[in-house]
C-alpha cells in the first residue's frame, strides 16, 4: 500500500528533522507511562508476592478478580477516573482532570492488576522452589517477600515491561482523562487517534512507527539486561 511507504518515509523525516512537537509528545508519553509503570510496580509486586505466598480463605476469589482485572477495558478505566476527577466528582477539588497526572492515575489503575497478577505467577513458581529452605531458615513473611522479589528481579523486569507496553499503547483511558490537549496532554496514542480522525493516515502511521521503534528500544534494553543475568544464572 502506498500509505505504508509514505508513512515510513514520513516517520524517518519526523525523527531525523528533530521535530520539536514530536519530541514533546514522545517525551510526555514516556514520562506518563514510565511513571505509571514504576508506581504500579511498587504496588503490584508486593501485592502479587503476598498473594503468591499466602494461603487464606477466598484466595481463589482474589486470584480470579486479579486475573479478570487484567482485561479492564481502558475506556472503562478512563470513565471511572473521569467521574472521580471531574469538577463535579468527589476528587474534583484537586483540579487534576486534563493534566498528565490524571493520565498517570488512569494508567496505574489499568496496569497495576496486570503487574500484580503476572508477578503473583512468577513469585509462586519461585516460592515453590524456595519455600522449604525459607521455612527451615524461619523467615518472616516480610523477609520471604523481600527475598523472593529480589531473586525474581529479572523476571519481574519483564512483568514491568508488560505493564509499560500496555500503558504506552493504550488510548482509551488517556484520551478521556487527558483530553488530548496540544502541548499539555497529547501523547503518542492520542496524537495517532487525532491524525487518523483527520484522515491523515500517513502521519498517523508514521507516529505509530515511532511508537513501535520506542517499544522495540525499551524491549531490547530489557532483553539485554536479562541476557546478562541469564549468563550468571540469575534468571
Amino acid at each position: 500500500m502506498q500509505s505504508i511507504a509514505d508513512a515510513l518515509g514520513l516517520a524517518a523525516k519526523l525523527v531525523l528533522s528533530g521535530d520539536p512537537d514530536l519530541f514533546e509528545i514522545v517525551l510526555l508519553s514516556l514520562q506518563v507511562s514510565l511513571t505509571a509503570t514504576v508506581i504500579a510496580c511498587l504496588v503490584g509486586f508486593p501485592v502479587g508476592a503476598l498473594v503468591a505466598i499466602s494461603r487464606f480463605r477466598g484466595r481463589n476469589a482474589v486470584l480470579i478478580v486479579m486475573n479478570a482485572l487484567m482485561g479492564l477495558p481502558p475506556v472503562v478505566v478512563g470513565l471511572l477516573v473521569y467521574l472521580h476527577l471531574s469538577r463535579s466528582g468527589p476528587l474534583g477539588f484537586l483540579g487534576l482532570l486534563y493534566t498528565p497526572t490524571a493520565m498517570i492515575i488512569a494508567q496505574i489503575i489499568l496496569i497495576a492488576p496486570i503487574i500484580a497478577a503476572l508477578s503473583q505467577q512468577v513469585i509462586e513458581d519461585l516460592h515453590s522452589e524456595y519455600s522449604e529452605q525459607f521455612r527451615s531458615l524461619c523467615l518472616t513473611r516480610v523477609q520471604t517477600v523481600q527475598a523472593l522479589l529480589w531473586d525474581a528481579r529479572y523476571s519481574l523486569l519483564t512483568v514491568g515491561l508488560a505493564g509499560f507496553g500496555r500503558a504506552v499503547a493504550e488510548v482509551g483511558a488517556v484520551i478521556i482523562v487527558g483530553g488530548n490537549i496540544d502541548h499539555l496532554t497529547r501523547v503518542m496514542t492520542t496524537a495517532i487517534a487525532l491524525e487518523t480522525s483527520k484522515g491523515d493516515l500517513a502521519l498517523a502511521l508514521a507516529l505509530g512507527i515511532v511508537l513501535l521503534v520506542i517499544a522495540l528500544g525499551v524491549n531490547a534494553a530489557v532483553h539485554s539486561v536479562r541476557m546478562t543475568a541469564a549468563r550468571q544464572a540469575y534468571v
Binding site: Q31, S86, G95, L96, T101, S197, G199
Partner: protein, 271 residues
C-alpha cells in the same frame, strides 16, 4: 543528568500538574470539527500572544462537550447545536450564548454516485433518494452536533433511517474523522461539515455530492461556563476568550483562516 531532569519534570508533573493547568490557562470544551480543521492551531497562538492566556482544547462531540461542561470540566463551550446550547444556558450552566461563525454541511459520496444524488441541492430529496435506493449511508450516531443536524434533516425528509440501522444505515458511533474513514471504507454516503471535509486527508475518490441547501447551514456558538454553577471556572480568562472571538479582531482572524485557498468558517457574530 538527563535522567535527573526527567525525574524532576515528572515530579513537577505530578505535584504541579493541577496548579499549572489553572492559573494562566482555560479549558475549551469544543466540537471536533473546529479542532480537526486546524482552526485552533491558527487562532490560539494569536490570542495567546495578545493576552498571555493559554487555551487548552478538549475536542469531543458536541453532546459530550456539553456534558463535560455541565460537569464543570471546562471554562468555555464552543459547539454547534443551537437547541442544546440554549438549553445549556437556560439551565444555568452557561452565562450567555453568542453566535460565532458558520459553515455548512455537505454530503460526500463515491465518484460513481450509486444513488444518483450528485448535484442535487435539495437535501431532503437527496436523503429520501438514498433511502429509497438503499445505498449505504454512514452516520455519526454519537449525539454530536452533526448527528443532531442529520437527524433533523432525516425527519424533514420523512424517512426514519434508524429502522434500517445495520442494513443500509450505518451508525458509526464515532467522531467526524473516524466516521469519514469508516464511511469511505465501506463506500457509504456521509454527511460532514465542510471545514472537516476540506482539511480531511483521506478523501480517496470521494467528492461533495450534495451542497447548497440553506437547511444545511451549520451555526457555531460560544458560551462561557457559568461560575455560579461551577466555582472552579476561570471567569476572567474565559470571558476574555469569548469576547475576543466575537470582537472584530477575532472575527477577522476566523475569516482569514484558509485551507487549500478555501475559507472554512464564516464569522457572523452580532455587532
Amino acid at each position: 543528568m538527563l535522567a535527573r531532569k526527567f525525574m524532576a519534570t515528572t515530579a513537577a508533573l505530578i505535584i504541579g500538574g493541577a496548579a499549572w493547568a489553572q492559573d494562566q490557562s482555560i479549558i475549551v470544551q469544543s466540537t471536533t470539527s473546529t479542532a480537526n480543521s486546524g482552526l485552533y492551531d491558527y487562532l490560539l497562538p494569536i490570542f495567546q500572544e495578545e493576552t498571555g492566556i493559554q487555551v487548552n482544547v478538549v475536542a469531543v462531540g458536541t453532546g459530550q462537550a456539553i456534558r463535560n461542561a455541565e460537569n464543570c470540566d471546562g471554562d468555555v463551550l464552543l459547539v454547534h447545536a443551537k437547541p442544546s446550547e440554549e438549553k445549556f444556558v437556560s439551565a444555568g450552566f452557561g452565562t450567555e450564548r453568542t453566535d460565532l461563525m458558520y459553515n455548512d454541511f455537505v454530503i460526500v459520496g463515491p465518484a460513481a454516485d450509486p444513488a444518483g444524488v450528485g448535484g442535487m441541492n435539495d437535501v431532503q430529496g437527496a436523503l429520501a433518494k438514498i433511502a429509497e435506493t438503499g445505498v449505504l449511508f454512514a452516520s455519526r450516531g454519537d449525539d454530536s452536533g452533526t448527528h443532531k443536524k442529520e437527524m433533523a434533516l432525516w425527519a424533514d425528509s420523512g424517512v426514519d433511517p434508524t429502522a434500517a440501522s445495520g442494513a443500509w444505515y450505518r451508525e458509526i458511533g464515532s467522531g467526524m474523522g473516524a466516521t469519514l474513514n469508516a464511511g469511505i471504507g465501506m463506500g457509504a454516503y456521509v454527511m460532514t461539515d465542510r471545514a472537516t471535509w476540506i482539511s480531511f486527508g483521506n478523501k480517496q475518490d470521494y467528492a461533495i455530492t450534495v451542497q447548497g441547501d440553506e437547511d444545511m447551514f451549520n451555526q457555531y456558538g460560544v458560551i462561557p461556563v457559568n461560575p455560579a454553577k461551577c466555582p472552579s471556572v476561570n471567569v476572567d480568562a474565559a470571558q476574555t476568550f469569548a469576547d475576543w472571538l466575537v470582537s472584530d479582531e477575532g472575527q477577522d482572524a476566523i475569516a482569514a483562516y484558509t485551507v487549500a485557498d478555501q475559507q472554512l468558517f464564516f464569522p457572523n457574530a452580532p455587532d
